[in-house]
Amino acid sequence: MPLPRLLRNTLITALVIAAFVISYRVTEADFPRLFRDLPKGRELLTAFLTPDVFTRDLETRTVSIVFPVPCGSASVEEVFPAEGPRLVPSVNCAAPLEKFTLQGFDLQPNSEVVIRWRLPDERTMTAIRTQTDANGYFSQEVQARPIQASVNGVASRLEVDTLTPVGGLKPSQALKDVLDNMFVTIFMALLSTTLATLIAAPLSFLAASNITRKGCFGTGVYYLFRSFFNLMRSYDPLVMATVFGFWLSFGPFPGFLALTVVTIASLGKLFSEAVENIDPGPVEALQATGAPPLHTVRYAVVPQIVPDFVSYIIYHWDINVRISTIIGFVGGGGIGYYLNLSINDFKWNQAGTAIWAIVIVVWAMDFLSAEVRKRLT
């Protein structure tokens, strides 16, 4: 190998290695962390995998007993029931911070139990939570209040709430919010796709060489629209949304506008290619009958392009659902925005619900658009 070439190859190799090293540095690539941080990730993942979807109504029942702290600060004049839902403490009164056992009998079975202090001034303090068994029984160690809890001879009380799920499962608030926001996203995508179609469909004929490119004027129009579509198509919707966002302040509207503009360009290009790919025979035949130009397009071109157009429209609706999710994330409303809020509030289960909804909708749209397009040919 002659020396200059060897030198050149060595130089190129060195540059490539340098480029790799630099990119490794700037992306702060730290692959071992993938494994080191696994436990942290697992916690998050568990939250995501148990989305907040359903709740059940809770029925609350309360039983209470007098329980002076400390002993003798108030009289105990109540009769404790011997049957039915009842609370039985191991002592009838206690000194501050003294520990004793509280038992409950014949309460609601399999329910969450909230044990509370009710002070004479009607304030309540939650002491501890536990659970009843299948017989409605619980036994729990409780600590007395740290300072005197009875005032002017009125005793403090121990109150126990049993929270029993009743009725069937019903959608949780998070699920309702996610569905609401999903609709915003889907319809934002639908509306922008529809508007873009209405604008792009007529314009696409002007950018189709077989329709427009006749004579000086026609050729001018053709190149004008063709380059307009190509230019607009090269902008990323996210960048466009940010630009519109600074102009119109952030919210669903600039996101919608950005999506529409990008979709007009993209559909316009696809549509004009569909128009260019038609069989020219019927066009020639209708020109030969003396049909006016618009009617020639209506009867010879439109029937040929409808399947392609419909398939592109559905395809873009599908794409736009994804893009509007992302635009939402940067402040454009809808499910993306909701997901962003949930993550910022550390509501991981709620975020999980949103993510599941996105996955399901994206998958469904993908499936639907593939099915429809398959049937159209």
Partner: protein
């Protein structure tokens, strides 16, 4: 009366498809144009209704200069000239009836027809045209569900909707099974007998003998023969088709 006067056509890429071609077609003729592939038959037929603009020469139809007509006048002229194509040129995804009705677009109310609404008499005429070519029961099928022969009959029905005085047929049977050729050409012959002038390009000489009242032959864009089919003897045949050519009969296929 159609007069073709010194018509030449040079395509933008420099191909000279027609060179100074002149002949007259009297009303009621069944004129057949013959010639090898690439001799300029399609170009000539398309120059007549200006689907292709002739570079030079004049085409005069009932004392009207087609070559000088404005776009609006040209559309009026085209309404009276039906055209039938080798590839049928139907809109495949549309119904047979819609394809036939679209032959009426030059006459129809521009607003309602744009919306796809057709008056009862147009629909009746379309059904009648389909009956004439024997496929009325296919009116509501999609055009591409029909066989080639049936599609060409739809093509003829579409031309009939124009109430044409002249029909241009560019190799109307070349895409069909040879045994179907007669069934299609007989429809054209029938129309010709009813007074419609027919100009038709054909490949097989036996078909030419059977249907032509007069023949024009092209070779490399030049008219090399004009006369009756009977006048095409061996020598003329070699002149038109070249030394290598052998006569093939549609009937023998």
């Amino acid at each position: 009366m159609l007069r073709i006067q010194n018509v030449s056509k040079t395509y933008p890429n420099g191909t000279q498809a027609l060179k100074n071609v002149s002949f007259d077609v009297a009303d009621g003729e069944f004129l057949v144009i013959i010639g090898l592939s690439g001799s300029g038959k399609s170009t000539l037929l398309r120059c007549i209704n200006r689907l292709i603009e002739p570079t030079e020469g004049k085409i005069i139809w009932d004392d009207v200069d087609i070559t000088a007509a404005s776009p609006a006048e040209l559309r009026k002229i085209r309404r009276t000239i039906g055209m039938v194509f080798q590839q049928f040129n139907l809109v495949k995804r549309s119904s047979v009836l819609t394809n036939v009705l679209s032959g009426r677009l030059g006459y129809a109310n521009p607003w309602t027809s744009l919306l796809g609404i057709w008056p009862q008499e147009d629909i009746a005429q379309a059904m009648q045209a389909l009956e004439r070519v024997g496929i009325a029961e296919k009116a509501h099928s999609r055009a591409d569900a029909l066989s080639g022969g049936q599609q060409q009959r739809v093509g003829i029905a579409r031309a009939l909707m124009q109430n044409p005085k002249l029909i241009l047929a560019d190799e109307p049977v070349a895409s069909l099974d040879p045994v179907l050729s007669h069934s299609i050409l007989q429809y054209l012959e029938q129309l010709n007998k009813e007074g419609i002038t027919v100009i038709c390009s054909l490949h097989f000489l036996d078909l030419v003998h059977r249907y032509a009242t007069r023949v024009v032959a092209l070779k490399d864009g030049v008219k090399v023969f004009e006369g009756s089919a009977k006048e095409i003897d061996r020598a003329k045949f070699k002149e038109i088709y070249g030394e290598e050519a052998q006569e093939v009969r549609a009937a023998s296929l």
